[in-house]
């Protein structure tokens, strides 16, 4: 199966490329960065800026062949390092260009990278907490920042192309993604700064498990547009979230009473049920 991965040079993208190449996918990696030196064998690369419509065309018609699926990861991954209009424009232009060309070329499947920030809590300025826990894919969003808004728009864009062309579309919502070299510092924070993970509701995912979820999404047939929170089974916390939450806010504490044991504030059961996916790494493996 021939797949295009946009945003392939990002930290998540690199793991996704590795995962797919290891499972016999023919991968065309695309990113705005120059070709890296350490591509897995057999992976092709094209340097392209997905905010330009012509580049999106070039990527999706690379060497004259359409891919069977597109995994779109290219984006600015948070609103902390770029002006707000740049964050929003980069993300929604690249998402739209990809969606439009997927439709125009009749590419049958698109996996879009959304985020736990589809929900909109990490970068909000007016505090709010979910109306129930654990949050699942039905919980409404409240974007206050350009990154969260761009993720909401991205999911609407893939629904549009499904409505127009019948494209099979999936949105992946990663939480706080932990890369292998980050684990020592993350474990330290679990012990020393347990409340610092509150805005993500103490959810997290090892990048290797996340990459596996992208592959499972490729391998699972869906009918409607389906979004999935891809989070680990346990909370990024030593103590139960129900005990930590009241220390953050009374409102959150009330909602967190429904969480038991090591349950995080985000529910992964839809991904487990529909994608047949299981997280295999826990923060406890790295203590």
């Amino acid at each position: 199966m021939r797949v295009v991965v946009t945003g392939s040079s990002g930290r998540i993208g690199q793991q996704v490329v590795k995962e797919l190449a290891a499972h016999a996918y023919q991968v065309i990696a695309a990113d705005i960065a120059r070709a890296p030196h350490d591509l897995p064998a057999g992976v092709q690369y094209i340097q392209a800026d997905m905010t330009k419509p012509a580049d999106a065309v070039g990527v999706l018609t690379f060497r004259g062949r359409k891919p069977d699926a597109v995994l779109h990861l290219a984006a600015i991954p948070n609103p902390t390092k770029d002006p707000p209009d740049v964050v929003y424009a980069t993300n929604v232009l690249s998402a739209y260009n990809i969606v439009e060309m997927v439709g125009a070329l009749g590419i049958p499947k698109l996996i879009e990278t959304s985020s736990i920030n589809w929900l909109g809590m990490d970068f909000r300025t007016q505090e709010w907490w979910p109306s129930y826990l654990p949050v699942d894919e039905f919980h409404p969003h409240q974007a206050q920042d350009p990154y969260a808004l761009s993720k909401f728009v991205g999911e609407q864009a893939v629904e549009m192309i499904r409505n127009r062309c019948g494209t099979e579309v999936i949105s992946i919502r990663p939480p706080y993604v932990v890369f292998t070299d980050w684990w020592p510092d993350v474990v330290r924070r679990v012990h020393e700064e347990p409340l610092s993970f509150a805005s993500g509701l103490w959810s997290y995912i090892d990048v290797r498990d996340l990459a596996a979820a992208y592959r499972k999404a490729l391998e699972t047939r869906v009918n409607l547009h389906e979004s999935f929170y891809i989070v680990a089974d346990d909370a990024l916390a030593e103590r139960p979230v129900a005990d930590l939450a009241p220390e953050v806010s009374e409102a959150l504490g009330k909602k967190a009473k429904s969480l038991t044991g090591t349950q995080p504030g985000v529910d992964n059961s839809k991904a487990k049920r529909m994608l047949d996916w299981r997280p295999s790494f826990s923060w406890r493996d790295f203590t």
Binding site: D85, L93, Y96, F152, N163
Partner: protein, 290 residues
Amino acid sequence: MRIVVTGGSGIVGGFVVRNLVAAGHDVMNVTRRPPRDPVPGAGFVQVDTTEMGQVVGALKFRGKIADAVIHLAALPNVWPVAASLPTEVWRINALSVYNVAEACAQLGIGKLVETSSVNVHQYMRSGGTIAPPRWPMDETTPNWVINAYGLSKIAGEATARMLHARTGAQAISIRPALVIAPDEYAMRISQMRGDRPKTWLSWSYSDAEDLAEAYRLAIEKDDLGCEALYIVNDDAFTDAPIETCIMQAYRDAGPLDIGVKGHAADIANAKAKAMLGWKPRHSWHDYEKR
């Protein structure tokens, strides 16, 4: 009030600017081309609303930050501008409303009215195979879009919600249906009745003068919060009974829940009437040749 109107040189924009100036507001038209018929008393500054810096600069006029913004600047879904690349429609429409909302947040502007559309409900473009859950359609009907224009309106409404959530600013999204100016009725009526009758996304329509009035009410009233409002007439723009139109258009969509009949429009305007105290004053029948 000191009101910036983006897109004040367009068809709807012209009516809005005229309505606001007549009501005594201090209006600045902010857009990329000057108006063909400038409204005396309204200012103009040439701006590309896809450029954040230009938008921030334009929301201050004569040295002070505007009190309110009405955002109309976009590529509309009308000929000849409708013949634009989808990527351009998307870029201009999505980025313009974002820049305006972000500028409002940064400058502390407390009121925004932005322009959405019946195009958040493009069910008619499903070939009549997918129907809304019920008629009349209203602001609770689920969105369903197939193109850049409809998507840009969904994005615009979400952008208005972002502004309100972040700063508490009053953020209203106005949804016109087919907009008809006084001098366009004859042409639209003959399109509707022609040998190959034209169909639009719905049988609702928005009189341009009544629409401009709704914009003024939405910017003048306080405590409206964050809402989308359909601004459409009471009657349908069709000769046949509305239930017949719906059943014919959606005959391949399975069971239909039709709660409108006769001359009633297929989109409800009750929310706008209740929230704004707005009422349509012109009907297409007023413009029919006797």
